[in-house]
Symmetry: C2
Subunit: 374 residues, 2 copies
């Protein structure tokens, strides 16, 4: 059989207030087209379908439609687990009905020990887990971290292996040895919080989610992150996003890239360059852009100015820092208090004062001034 | 055929911080037993399955289990609509799968015009609707209220009537002429916000949700609220709760009461009586209790004292008001400032100061005192 391996959809994710639902829907259409062109027999989604435990109504509606299309309309068996971003309880709602049409949604550890058999393959769907859940399940108080937790899980799964079948693990964790990108900063990485890849050799293939870089495991022959559906952080700007097509006869895998509606890229340049048509006309200004400004001086209204050229700026940082308080003080003779405050706020916050903030600042400064005069 | 008509489960509802999930699960077990004993062929749930648009994980898990039991385990066809308390988007998630096992979940107006046919009956599942949705659907700008909105809906449904079949409407609105209880206080009732029952005569039966009193329509022959699953407000204390069993051959209906794990009742008495064993030993002290205190004088720690006898007090009000400021002033010679504040707070709020509030009050009074001394 052939299956498509994807993960980390993060439906509902926003990039600095830019709603990505339309981008996610667009790239999903490509994913469907790939599934059809590649004539896959099933689709694996290895966790983090949602970006948040409590997704918005809009996100819920979009994910539901995606799953309807794959499973109800195109009749693909779906092999789904929850990731650390999903609410296990909310994601599993309805699973008793889903399985009737071969949409398998595992969100509890115990469910991982009932493998799903499809076309000569046993899929073990192991959702994101906390070590304490494994400790409770196996009644083993010595289990305190993920590295310890994975061993009894794999041992138990091996007792369920049927000879002559392929054995594939689908899970969502940090596997030791992998790189990680900015999107995973909230996760404790490395050391005891990682699963040693040597403990996963029993499987013919390990389809992972969690890390957003599909190259995170540097060409491990049998263990693979699919990477995320889209670039979800500036640190992922140089990563190609896509899905894996896995053939369980040959155990060959092929990475098929997906082209986003809007790319995500990082521009490192001076303000003068960034605002020079000769420079910016060469850039993909439709992209979500993280700007790394090489200037060090104060630039009034920097974000508002740059957004006129690059409408989808998602971050602005200073490569070389900013000449902070001292140059500001040197300039303060030339600036009225409101302008000085504006410039200071922009430097610190990398964004403009809102109209309300400006109003409050003016009122506050006026009050202070009138007090001084009394 | 025979069907069970229920509504207004409000899963996840709390009564003054008392979590009702266990009570809801217990009464649901009875509902299942009734369905089996009465050998019904289907179950109608006429809206407000959840209490809130954004139910807790616990509430989501409980409702999912209830629906699993009815539809997946006991194989009852379920005819479900969303009520005004439900999030239409969240409730409909998964409906593409649910219908495969005859669980029909309608949350959008347009879906009401595809009747569900079961055993010679056409069920029109009309979810809670806002007039503007009907105006948009029929492209009729003159529709501004529910009374106007129902007419084109019923007219369209009548064109779908198959002769020789029963025609049953399932919906969730306020039907003109009905009483209403404290639970519905947030809904605009009466006048143009109500559906005139005369507009519903085309149907053989109208299974309604929204009002919690199953007698709200005073014996209308064909239009019926099932009432809520439990008593959800002190105003419902005297209402019997249960479900209707409807026989579509005879169009006879029978009300089958459900006995809650904990009743809800109102006690109107003096503090002296309420705390007198001769009185309270005759009461159902396991019940959720709304207390209507006939005393008018200040009673220190009244809530804490009463809760020692009645652990599930959900409200405390004063039948005759409280002798407020004046008697308090007469007593203030006898009370230190902290006690005076405590008594005053209790009188106004009908609850004790928390430990934190008391601490802050003491600190504030101490600060004021030390200022006076300076």
């Amino acid at each position: 059989m052939r299956f498509l391996h994807t993960a980390d959809w993060h439906i509902g994710k926003k990039l600095n207030d830019f709603d990505l639902l339309a981008d996610q829907q667009a790239v999903f259409e490509q994913l469907m087209a790939v599934a059809q062109a590649q004539q896959v027999d099933a689709i694996v989604i290895a966790g983090d379908l949602y970006d948040r435990a409590l997704p918005s109504e809009a996100a819920v509606a979009v994910l539901d439609q995606m799953l309807v299309k794959l499973n109800r309309d195109l009749h693909y068996p779906l092999l789904v687990i929850s990731g650390n971003h999903d609410s296990a309880v909310r994601l599993r709602t309805g699973r008793s009905w889903f399985s009737a049409t071969q949409m398998y949604v595992n969100t509890q550890l115990a469910e991982a020990f009932t493998p799903i058999e499809l076309d000569g393959v046993q899929f073990f769907l192991l959702p994101y887990f906390e070590p304490f859940a494994v400790r409770d399940y196996f009644q083993d108080q010595t289990i305190t971290n993920v590295a310890q937790a994975i061993r009894p899980i794999v041992t138990k799964m091996k007792t369920l292996f049927k000879p002559g079948m392929r054995h594939i693990l689908v899970s969502h964790f940090f596997a030791a040895g992998s790189d990680h990108s900015a999107s995973e900063t909230k996760v404790n990485v490395g050391g005891l919080d990682a699963v040693p890849i040597d403990d996963l050799t029993a499987f013919d293939y390990v389809a992972l989610g969690h890390l957003h870089n599909h190259n995170a495991l540097h060409g491990e022959p049998k263990i693979q992150y699919s990477g995320a559906l889209l670039k979800y952080a500036v640190g992922e700007a140089k990563q190609e996003k896509g899905v894996y097509i896995v053939d369980t006869e040959t155990m060959q895998r092929e990475f098929v890239p997906l082209k986003p509606q809007h790319d995500l890229l990082e521009l490192k340049a001076s303000y003068a360059d960034l605002t020079d048509p000769a420079y910016y006309q060469k850039q993909d200004r439709d992209a979500y852009i993280g700007i790394d400004l090489t200037d060090t001086q104060v630039i009034p209204n920097v974000m508002a100015q740059l957004r006129q050229i690059y409408p989808r700026i998602i971050s602005l940082r200073r490569e070389n820092g900013v000449q902070a308080v001292k140059p500001l003080q040197q300039r303060q003779r030339d600036l009225d208090p409101v302008s000085l405050l504006k410039a200071f706020y922009e430097e610190l916050m990398q964004t403009d004062l809102t109209a309300d903030q400006l109003k409050w600042a003016k009122a506050g400064l006026a009050a202070a001034e009138s007090e001084q005069k009394q």
